[in-house]
């Protein structure tokens, strides 16, 4: 199979990648990105680009023009059509688990499965679509032990996700996986 899906030119393959990442936890038991807005859900997540094209690609309106409405429309069109090689958007996950604990906000570590348009690197990947596979509620330097009722709340919001109270156990059952085959 060549040409990618719908002739995008991106190679296509069956499979997914797996990696570690952290989230901050809201007081009502939902997971949110550490440095972006939004909420993660149990039944799948799709990334949205919040970036902007470079000045070479789409310059700002001139001072005398000030047609920002047209600029924003063109920017939104660029966000909808550009791929990951032009912009660092996507859900990020990494091959090492411990480094994700070094945060300055209380964070929960977990494992996600990434698919859709994916860029794989030597330390992890970023994917346009992702699903949470596992969460670890083990206390660490940036998060105290969660109360049992709060863990139950997380489990209610994220059914089907495997919960672990040990990073070692979670990593053993859900190791990072970046190798995927390519279709012929």
């Amino acid at each position: 199979m060549s040409g990618g899906e719908f002739g995008t030119g991106i190679p296509f393959a069956v499979g997914s990648v797996r990696g570690f990442r952290g989230w901050k936890v809201t007081t009502d038991g939902w997971l949110e990105p550490l440095s972006q807005s939004g909420r993660w859900f149990a039944d799948g997540n799709e990334a949205i680009c919040h970036g902007s094209p470079s000045q070479d690609q789409l310059p700002y309106p001139k001072e005398e023009d000030r047609d920002w409405t047209r600029y924003y429309a063109q920017r939104d069109a660029w966000r909808a059509r550009h791929d990951m090689t032009e912009c660092p958007h996507g859900f990020y996950a990494y091959t090492t688990a411990e480094e994700q604990y070094r945060t300055s906000v209380p964070a929960i570590l977990g494992v996600i499965e990434g698919f859709g348009e994916v860029t794989i690197g030597t330390k992890g990947f970023r994917a346009m679509k992702a699903r949470i596979l596992a969460l670890c509620v083990e206390p660490h330097q940036a998060m105290w032990r969660l109360e049992p009722f709060f863990v139950d709340l997380l489990k209610a919001h994220y059914p089907g996700v495997a919960f672990f109270d040990s990073l070692v156990a979670m990593r053993a059952e859900f190791p990072a996986e970046l190798s995927v085959g390519t279709s012929s």
């Binding site: 899906e5 991106i10 190679p11 090689t85 480094e99 994700q100 070094r102 794989i120 690197g121 330097q141």
Partner: protein
Amino acid sequence: MSDFVGVPARLGPSDDPVPVGAVLAGLFAELDRRVAAGLVSVPLFEWPEMGDIGEPLKHIELEPLEVPVTVPAPEKVPA
């Protein structure tokens, strides 16, 4: 050994105003001394290197393999 760096009792309004800057400098110096002596553990809080997935290796479109749901065979009831 307590690692709490206390605040001098003289801080506050008085006839002899306390140079707050000098007091704070002294407190930080004492904290640095205790950290250097290994008496105080300073947790490392830092943002992770956001976006550092390393050198790009592959740009690909992935479709996850759906795991088929298998229904277990019914148990045979002994006669």
